[in-house]
Amino acid sequence: MAEADDRTPEQLDVAAHLAALAGLPGMGPARLGALLSRWPAPEAWQQVRSGALVRAPEVLAGIRGHQSELCQDWQRAARATDVSDVWRQHVAAGVTVVTIGEAGFPSRLVDDPEPPAVLFHQGEAALLDAPTVAIVGTRRCTRYGHDVAREMGATLADAGVAVVSGLALGIDAAAHQGALDAAGTPPLAVIGTGLDVVYPRQNRGLWEQVVASGAVFTEAPLGTPPEGWRFPARNRIIAGLADVVVVVESHAAGGSLYTVEEAVIRDRPVLAVPGPIRSPASAGTNRLLADGAMALCAIDDVFVALGLVDHPGSSPGSGSATVGDPTDPVQRAVLAAAGWEPVSLDQLATATGLGFDDLSLAIERLVASGHLDRRGAWWERVSGR
C-alpha cells in the first residue's frame, strides 16, 4: 500500500519515533509539542524511556496534569514498546506516517497555530490539492439536517470540492455519504482514533468506503481507542484542512462549535445553516448566525464562500423540488400538514382532522413513495436531490 518511500533514513527514524511517542498513554498534541520543543523525536523517546524526562523542568512546564505519574506511565509504556515494531505495524497496515516539515505533510497545516507533529493517513492524500469544505454538525441531527448535509456533500463532490468531515454519526455521516454518492471528488475524513479503530461502529461501512475512494487522517497511531479529549483536538485539524467550514446543525453546546472556534482562529470562513428556532438541533447554528456567521441560504452559497462563484446562486436548495408531489388529495393534505419539521402522529391527526385509518393509510403510502420518513414514531418530510 504505502508507496516506495523516498525519505532519508534519518527522516524515517524521526517518523517512527514520532509514531511511537504519539502512542504513549494520554499523549496529546500539547504534550507532544512540549517534548519536541526541547528535543528531536528520537532523543525525546530516549529521554522518556530512560526516565530522564522527570528531571527536565523546562519541558515539564509545558505538560499539564500529574507530571511525575505521567512520566512513570510513559517510561513504563516506552520500555514495553519497540519503535521498529511500531513502524512495521504501520507499514504493514498501509498507513502513511508523515511528520511536519516533510514534503507529504498537508500544506494547509504547515502554518497552523497548533499543527499535529505527525499525521497518519490511509487513502489518497493528493485529494487535499482540491478545494476543501468541512461539513460538520451534531450526531443527533434531524431529517432536515441530514438531508442538507447529504445534498451539500453531493453538490460539492460534483463540483470537484473535497468534503472534509469527522466520520461521526449524524451530520458527518450524511455529508460523507452524499459525497460518496456523487461520482465526483471523494471525501476526506479526520478521526480521533487510530486508523484500525472504527468508531462509532455503526459507521464501519461508510468508513471503509471513505478509505477506499477518499482518505482518512488522524494524529493518533494504530490502536488508539476513542477517548473524549481526542475529538475536540481532532476538530482543529478538520478546521485546519478546510478552506470553508459549514455547520449544518448544532445543539446549543454542541461539539461542532469547537470546530467553529478553531476555524475562527485559523481565519476560515464559517457558514451556518439556519434552522427552526424551536428545533434544539439548530440552537447552536442559529446562535452562530446571530453572532455573525454567514448564513447558508442555498447550497450554492458555499461556492461563494469558497470564492469559486462571485454571486449568490438563486436555487434555494432543492427542498422544494422533491420527488414530485402526490396526486391524492388526502396524501397532499398530510404532506402539507407535515411541514419540514418532525411531526408526531397526533400532530398530523390534529392538523388534518383525518380519521386514524385514513391517516395511517396516507402515511404508509407516502412512505412507500418516498415523501415521508419514519424515525421512531416521528415523521419527517424527505427532500430529494
Partner: protein, 505 residues
C-alpha cells in the same frame, strides 16, 4: 383417644383437603405436630392452649400428637388451629365425637379464643370435603363463593363449642352488607387530544393485545394506563371466581361483594423482585403480581428499570398464560392470564422523543434499550410513542370520548372474537388467520412492502394481522381486511427504539 377432623390447606392458589388427627394418651405431657408442618403450624400449640384456657376449656395434661395427613403435602400457616382445638376437645372427651360429624373447620385462633380469617379461604372452602364447613365469621362471604356445603361462621371458640354441644343455637350468618356503590373508574374522557394513544388503548382492550407506551416524562403514560380498566368488560363468572381465589390466596383485600368482578389492575413498582412478580417464596407458595393481574391488567411503569431477569420471567406467562413455580418442596402452577402494559422513557434523559432533542450518547441509549430483550419487545403487539400533549389541547381541547362509549365498541369487538372461538383476537392461532383475517389485495400489498423493507418479520406479520382484525372489528366490519386496517396496525407497531439517526438511502 383419637379424633380426626377434616380441614384444608393451601398450595399455591389451590386448596387441598387435610385431615387433622389428634391423639391424646397418657405418658409424659407433651405436644408434637407431625406431617410436614411449617413453623406457624407448629406454633399452633401455644395459640390453641391459650385459646382453650381463655375459653374455660381444659388443656389435657397428657401426651398429645397432632398429625396433618396427607403427610406428603407441606402445610403452611395457622389454618388448622381451629381443627386442632376441636380435635383436642374431642380426643380429651370434652366434646362428643357425634357432635362434630359432618363438620370441617378452617380458621386461626387468637389467644383469647377469637377465630380469625386466613388467606385463601375461597380455595380452602372448595377443598374441604364435609357437608358443613365452619369458618371465621368474617370469612363467610368469601367461603360461600365456591363452597359446596353449608357454611357456618363463628366469632370465637366459646360460641363454637356451645353450638356444637347444642347449648346455644348457631349464630346467625352476618347480614349482607348494603350494596356500596362501586367507585367509578378513571375515565378516558379525561384524556385530551392524544388520538394515537387513545386508539392504542381501545385496540389493546378490544383485542387483548399487549401494549408498550414510550414517551417522555409528563406525556401521560400512567394516566392512560389507569384508564384501560374502564374499557374492559367485567369478568365472567368463571373468571371472577378464579380472580377471587387468587386474591384470597394472596391475602389481598376483596371488594365488598366478596367477588372480584372488575378486571384487576396491578402496577408493581420497578424494584419488584422476581418472586414478587412470578409468585412463590420459601414455604408458602404465594401468587405473584402476574397471577394477581390475571383476567386484568399488569402495568409495568418504567419498564426499562426492572431487572432484566424479572422481565424475562414474563415471557413464559405471556406465552402460556400460566406460570410454573418450582421449589424443592413443591411445584405449583399459577394462573397468569393478563394483559401487559409497559411504559418507559425513550432514553435515559427522557427527552429523546422528537428527533434531535435527546441529550444521551449513542452508547447510553443503546444500553438503555438493551435492557428490554428482543423476545419481550416482540410480544408487544402494540407499541406507540406518547408525545407530550399539545398545551392548547390540554387547556382548551374538548373532553375526549368517554370510557362507556369506547367500552361498548370493545365489548362488541370481543363478541366477534368469541364467535371465532377465542376470548380476544390476540388468542387466534397463526393457522386460523387466513380464515379469520383474509386480506384485500391492496392490504396485502402494504404488508408485502413492510416485509420487503425489513420493517416486519414473519412473526410480526401474524401479529399485525391480528391487530388489523381488531381494528376492523372495532368498526363492526366484516369481510377481508382493508388497507386502512393494516395501515393502522402498522402505525400502532412502530419501531420505538430506532430513534437514533436517519437511515441512509
Amino acid at each position: 383417644v383419637l379424633a380426626s377432623i377434616p380441614s384444608a390447606t393451601l398450595l399455591g392458589v389451590e386448596g387441598r383437603p387435610v385431615t387433622v388427627e389428634v391423639h391424646v394418651t397418657g405418658g409424659l405431657p407433651g405436644f408434637t405436630v407431625v406431617g410436614l408442618p411449617d413453623t406457624s403450624c407448629r406454633e399452633a400449640r401455644d395459640r390453641v392452649r391459650a385459646a382453650l384456657l381463655s375459653s374455660d376449656l381444659d388443656w389435657p395434661n397428657n401426651r398429645i400428637t397432632v398429625n396433618l395427613a396427607p403427610t406428603t403435602v407441606r402445610k403452611v400457616g395457622a389454618t388448622f388451629d381451629l381443627a386442632v382445638a376441636i380435635g383436642l376437645l374431642v380426643a380429651s372427651e370434652q366434646l362428643e365425637p357425634e357432635s362434630i360429624e359432618k363438620f370441617a373447620f378452617i380458621g386461626e385462633l387468637g389467644l383469647a379464643g377469637a377465630i380469625r380469617s386466613v388467606n385463601g379461604t375461597v380455595s380452602l372452602a372448595d377443598a374441604a370435603e364435609s357437608p358443613i364447613l365452619v369458618v371465621p365469621a368474617e370469612s363467610v362471604r368469601e367461603a360461600s363463593i365456591v363452597g359446596r356445603g353449608e357454611i357456618r361462621g363463628v366469632a370465637d371458640l366459646t360460641e363454637l363449642v356451645d353450638a356444637l354441644r347444642g347449648d346455644e343455637p348457631w349464630p346467625d350468618p352476618p347480614p349482607t352488607p348494603a350494596l356500596v356503590p362501586e367507585l367509578p373508574l378513571p375515565d378516558l374522557a379525561d384524556v385530551r387530544g392524544q388520538p394515537g394513544a387513545r386508539k392504542a388503548l381501545e385496540v389493546a382492550a378490544a383485542g387483548g393485545h399487549h401494549l408498550l407506551m414510550v414517551g417522555p416524562p409528563g406525556a401521560g403514560k400512567t394516566m392512560l394506563a389507569t384508564r384501560l380498566p374502564s374499557l374492559l368488560p367485567r369478568l365472567s363468572g368463571r373468571q371472577a371466581v378464579e380472580a377471587t381465589r387468587i386474591h384470597s390466596a394472596a391475602g389481598v383485600a376483596l371488594p365488598a361483594t366478596g367477588l372480584v368482578e372488575r378486571p384487576p389492575f396491578r402496577a408493581p413498582h420497578h424494584g419488584a423482585s422476581l418472586v414478587a412478580l412470578t409468585g412463590g417464596g420459601s414455604g408458602i407458595m404465594r401468587p405473584g403480581e402476574v397471577s394477581l393481574a390475571s383476567h386484568g391488567l399488569l402495568f409495568l411503569d418504567e419498564l426499562g428499570e426492572f431487572a432484566p431477569s424479572v422481565l424475562d420471567a414474563l415471557r413464559e406467562p405471556l406465552e402460556d398464560r400460566v406460570i410454573r413455580v418450582s421449589r424443592a418442596q413443591a411445584s405449583v402452577t399459577f394462573p397468569a392470564d393478563f394483559l401487559l402494559i409497559g411504559a418507559m422513557n425513550p432514553c435515559p434523559c427522557g427527552q429523546g422523543d422528537a428527533p434531535g432533542s435527546c441529550r444521551c450518547s449513542e452508547y447510553a441509549r443503546a444500553r438503555y434499550h438493551r435492557r428490554l430483550s428482543g423476545p419481550l419487545v416482540d410480544r408487544f403487539d402494540i407499541r406507540v410513542t406518547v408525545p407530550r400533549p399539545d398545551p392548547g389541547q390540554l387547556l382548551r381541547g374538548e373532553p375526549g370520548e368517554c370510557s362507556a362509549r369506547v367500552a361498548e365498541r370493545v365489548a362488541a369487538a370481543r363478541e366477534r372474537a368469541r364467535a371465532r372461538g377465542v376470548r380476544a383476537n390476540a388468542g387466534l392461532s397463526a393457522q386460523t388467520l387466513d380464515d379469520h383475517a383474509p386480506l384485500t389485495d391492496e392490504a396485502g400489498d402494504l404488508l408485502d412492502l413492510a416485509l420487503r423493507n425489513g420493517r416486519l418479520t414473519a412473526r410480526g406479520l401474524g401479529r399485525i394481522r391480528r391487530v388489523a382484525l381488531t381494528v376492523a372489528d372495532l368498526h363492526g366490519r366484516d369481510g377481508p381486511l382493508r388497507p386502512g386496517d393494516v395501515a393502522t396496525a402498522l402505525q400502532l407497531r412502530s419501531d420505538l427504539l430506532d430513534l437514533a439517526t436517519p437511515r441512509h438511502g
